[in-house]
């Protein structure tokens, strides 16, 4: 469980925004950002080909 205000929360917040904008413009970074968020238990894996 991530503590409120911890570095990890700040990281997830930042990753989330980066991920959303990568999705929006179809940037390849979305794959890695998704993987990092998934590893942190904060996101669902992208479906194949997405």
């Amino acid at each position: 469980m991530v503590q409120a205000g911890s570095d990890s929360e700040a990281e997830c917040f930042y990753l989330t925004h980066a991920y959303v904008f990568a999705l929006q413009v179809d940037a390849t970074e979305r794959i890695e950002l998704n993987a990092r968020l998934v590893a942190l238990g904060r996101e669902a894996p992208l479906p194949d080909g997405a």
Binding site: C12, V20, Q24, R42, E43, A44, A50
Partner: protein, 383 residues
């Protein structure tokens, strides 16, 4: 709601029938009833596939107050969705644009794939946490509206329970099967809009009859006389008129548009003009086609969206650009000649003693057929 209008007199044979009562043209309440019972329950035209040519192209459309969006996905399929975010109901796409990757809602940034799937729900489980057990993404995709593209027109069935388009319109699809080949839009000069102060039905009714041609289109009548026309009547589906003396437009140097491929002789001098119920007007001719989509804006306002198509792409026939412009001008003049009648009939329906009108059994069959179709749809919905 509006159930007081008498439809029985409309649903008798043309010789004895009366037209739809005034309320169907002047009452806002009836406009809403027809929206629900007629336009939403059948296959209505909302736009043109050529307006979203490439993957990622999206175009929002307000259809009778309902926010929709046409999107071409990565596989090239055209989809129509309700343009409303599944979260708090924000409008997703406010103007035509190219979407690179995902549709990001401008409010809390939920993201949808071009096929409508919900892809991301940022912070939905609290800051930095994008998942939550109660947010089931596979249940929260965009609401897909049934759609079908025919002759470049995008049709939708909002109610979702009409029989398949290809089943409803099997007869016309077969009738024009020879014309089932690529239609190339003529480009920006082959597109125009005519806003008219009339109820949408009057534009349908005027289009499917040839009775008015000698009076309203004297130019056309100089070579295409009333007696050279025949009625087209398919109960419950479409009506219109055909001509036996279609003449190709020719340019300064005698040039003509190339023909659609492999048409039978019937089309050498034949052409057909059909109102496909509820709201799209089509033309099939040897060398070009057009579609007029009637956008019902309000009880007494309609926008006619006119798009003209050819047998070959304009890029391949730049030398025919002047002829295409001339063709657009010619059709525009003809459609403009019709404006005062559809607007005049709209005004006429404020005459409280008008009883729907008396049809000519010889000339008004196609018009009555449309009235009968509308009345049947209303009667069905009223139960």
């Amino acid at each position: 709601m509006g159930a007081h209008t008498d439809l029985d007199a409309v649903m008798t044979p043309v010789a004895t029938a009366r037209g739809l009562p005034n309320e169907h043209y002047v009452s806002d309440q009836m406009f809403v009833e027809e929206r629900n019972a007629v336009l939403f329950k059948s296959w209505s035209g909302i736009g043109f596939a050529k307006d979203v040519p490439e993957p990622g192209d999206a175009k929002p459309i307000d259809f009778l107050g309902m926010p929709l969006v046409m999107i071409r996905d990565k596989t090239g399929e055209l989809g129509v969705f309700q343009n409303t975010c599944r979260h708090r109901g924000m409008i997703l796409i406010d103007k035509a644009k190219k979407i690179e990757g995902a549709i990001r809602c401008p409010y809390h940034s939920w993201c949808y794939a071009l096929n409508g799937d919900l892809r991301a729900t940022p912070h939905v489980g609290g800051p930095g946490n994008n998942i939550h057990e109660d947010i089931k993404r596979d249940e929260l995709g965009l609401i897909r509206i049934r759609s079908f593209v025919w002759r470049d027109v995008v049709f939708v069935n909002i109610s979702g329970n009409a029989p398949e388009f290809t089943e409803v319109h099997a007869d016309l699809i077969a009738r024009w099967s020879e014309h089932d080949q690529p239609l190339y839009h003529g480009g920006p000069g082959s597109s125009f809009k005519l806003p008219v102060k009339t109820n949408w039905k009057l534009a349908v009714e005027n289009y499917c009859e040839s009775y008015h041609l000698p009076w309203i289109h004297p130019g056309l009548n100089s070579y295409s006389r009333l007696e050279d026309h025949y009625h087209i009547e398919k109960q419950g589906e479409y009506s219109g008129q055909g001509t036996l003396v279609y003449r190709q437009l020719t340019g300064e140097g005698g040039e003509v548009f190339p023909d659609f491929r492999g048409l039978s002789d019937k089309w050498d001098e034949g052409a057909e003009y059909i109102s496909l119920f509820p709201n799209v007007l089509f033309a099939a001719q040897r060398d070009h086609a057009y579609a007029i989509l009637l956008e019902p804006v309000s009880t007494c306002e309609t926008i006619e969206h006119v798009e003209i198509y050819y047998a070959s792409p304009p890029e391949e026939t730049p030398d025919l650009e002047a002829l295409r412009d001339k063709n657009t001008r010619q059709w525009r003049e003809i459609f403009e000649e019709d404006i005062f009648v559809v607007e005049g009939m709209q005004k006429g329906r404020h005459g409280a003693m008008f009883d729907g009108g008396k049809f000519s059994p010889a000339m008004d069959g196609p018009t009555h057929l449309f009235h009968h179709w509308v009345a049947s749809k209303l009667a069905e919905a009223r139960g």
